[in-house]
Symmetry: C2
Subunit: 241 residues, 2 copies
DNA sequence: CGTCGCTTTGAGACCTATCAACAATGGTGG
DNA sequence: CCACCATTGTTGATAGGTCTCAAAGCGACG
C-alpha cells in the first residue's frame, strides 16, 4: 500500500516485475505525509534526501518566472514516483506541490540506493519511469509550441484519461481532477480567461463536459482526432526493458 | 575518441568517474556514422537496438504534428548521449535528425547493458544524463508557456552558450551553430517571420549578433537578465550521485 | 446573509501567424 | 566567368489568436 502497489502496477504494465523486485519495493521504508491544496511538497532550490511517490490525489511540478508567472511542467497521478529526479539531480530546479489534497510517501535516497544496488533490472525500471516522464514532457513541448489552445486542451484531457485509467481512477469516459481553470492555464501556458473560452469551445462541440472538478469525455475518438493524440509516448507496451 | 571522451567529460563534471567506469565506457564498441544536414538519424516509430552519441556537430529531436508542423524538443551537442532513451523506451515517439552535418556513434543496447550491469554508479551516471535532458525540457516548457518570444530566444542562446562552453565549443562569448531561422522557429514554436523580427529586436538592443551560423553574445549578463536565465537546471554541480 | 473562491463575460490592446513579395547568399552547370 | 537556381533572410500588410483589465455571476460555507 502507500502508493507502492500502484507503482508496481505501473511498472508491471511496462515489463514484468519479478517477485524479488516487488519485494524490494514493498520492503522500502516510507514516511507518509498528507498535503493540503496548494501546499508545497518539495521546494525549488532545496536539496532533498528523500524522493516522493504519490499515493493519493495529484501533485504538480511547477517553475516560477521572475515576473511571478507560473508554469506547471508535469501533473502526477497516484503511483507516480514524482521526485525520483532528486535522487540524481540533487538540487531542485523546480518545486512540487499538491493539487487538491494529496497523500505522498517519502522514501529515503539511502534506502532507494540500497534497494536498487543489487538489481540492475529494478534500477532500469525506475529509470524507465523517469524516462516516461521525459517523454510526456516532450509531448507537452510540442503541444505548447505547435498546437492551438483548443488542441492542446483536448490533448491534455486525452492524456489524463489514459493515465488515470491505468491506475483505476478513470473509466466510462469520466474522471475527477481538482484542477481549477487558473491552474489549467498554468498547464497550458494560457490566461484564465482564454482557458475558460477554450473550454467553452470544446463544450460547444459536444466533446467534453468539465464541471465541478469532474471531466466527462463525450466522444473520445473525435477528441483524440482534434487533439492529434497518439498514445505512443505513454509507453503502454509490455516488453523486456 | 568518437565522442566518448566528451561524454566522460560531461559526466565527470557532475561526479567523478572512477578509472574503471571510464574504462567501461572506453571499451564500448562503436559504429560511427556521419549524417548530412537534415538527415534522419533515428526514425519516429522505429525500434532501435542501438543508442547514439553525438561525436561532432549537432542533432535535434523532433516531433511532427498531423498538420505537418514540426517541433524541436531538444538540441544535442557533442558528448550528448542523445538516444539513451531508446534503451528503455523501445519505441521511438519522436525522431532524431542532424542539424548541419553530424557525426554520431551508435552503441548497441546489448553492449551498454553489459557495461552498466556490474556498475550501479555508472548506471546512475547515464541515468543522470537522461535526467538532465528532462530538466532542460522542463525549462523549455516554461519558456514556451510563460516567457515572451524575446525572452525565450534570449534564454536558448544563454543555454547553448553554457552547454557548448562545457565541451569546449564556445568561448569568448561566441559559438557556431548551424541553425536556420526556420529551425529556430521549430525550437521556439514561432513562425519564421516572427523569429526574424525577434532576432532583430535582440540585435537592436546590442545583446547578440547572429550571422552566418555564428552567434556573438555582446552582453551575457544583460541577456541572462532579460531571459530570466538561471543555470541551475543544467546541473553543473560536482557531487556524489 | 455576506464573504470567498472560482467561473464567466465584454472590450480593447498586443502579440504572433499568414500571405506575398523581394533581397541576399551560395552553389551549380554551361 | 556568368547565368541560373535553391536556400535563407528580410520586409510589409492584414488577420487572428491570446492577453489584460474590469466587472458581474455563481455556489459553498460559516
Amino acid at each position: 500500500m502507500f502508493g507502492k502497489d500502484l507503482l508496481v502496477r505501473m511498472l508491471d504494465r511496462r515489463d514484468t516485475l519479478p517477485p524479488d523486485e516487488i519485494a524490494l519495493i514493498e520492503a522500502l521504508p516510507v514516511r507518509p505525509v498528507t498535503f493540503g491544496p496548494d501546499e508545497e511538497i518539495v521546494r525549488e532550490g532545496s536539496r532533498p534526501t528523500e524522493s516522493c511517490l504519490v499515493a493519493n490525489g495529484f501533485a504538480v511540478r511547477n517553475q516560477a518566472t521572475r515576473e511571478g508567472k507560473r508554469q506547471i511542467t508535469a501533473i502526477h497521478v497516484p503511483g507516480d514516483f514524482v521526485d525520483l529526479h532528486s535522487l540524481l539531480l540533487k538540487v531542485m530546479d523546480h518545486s512540487v506541490s499538491a493539487l487538491g489534497s494529496c497523500e505522498v510517501v517519502f522514501i529515503r535516497h539511502k534506502d532507494l540506493l540500497t534497494a536498487i544496488g543489487g538489481s540492475p533490472h529494478l534500477t532500469r525500471m525506475l529509470w524507465l519511469s523517469t524516462t516516461i516522464d521525459a517523454s510526456i514532457q516532450r509531448t507537452w513541448i510540442t503541444c505548447l509550441g505547435r498546437r492551438s489552445a483548443k488542441q492542446h486542451l483536448a490533448h491534455i484531457i486525452c492524456e489524463l484519461y489514459v493515465r488515470l485509467e491505468l491506475v483505476g481512477l478513470a473509466s466510462d469516459q469520466t474522471f475527477a481532477i481538482p484542477l481549477t481553470q487558473a491552474e489549467l492555464g498554468d498547464v497550458l501556458g494560457l490566461s484564465v480567461v482564454h482557458v475558460n473560452r477554450t473550454l467553452q469551445e470544446l463544450r460547444a462541440k459536444d466533446l467534453v463536459i468539465w464541471k465541478d472538478r469532474r471531466i466527462v469525455i463525450l466522444d473520445f475518438q473525435r477528441l483524440a482526432i482534434l487533439a492529434d493524440f497518439d498514445a505512443t509516448y505513454l509507453n503502454l507496451f509490455h516488453e523486456p526493458r
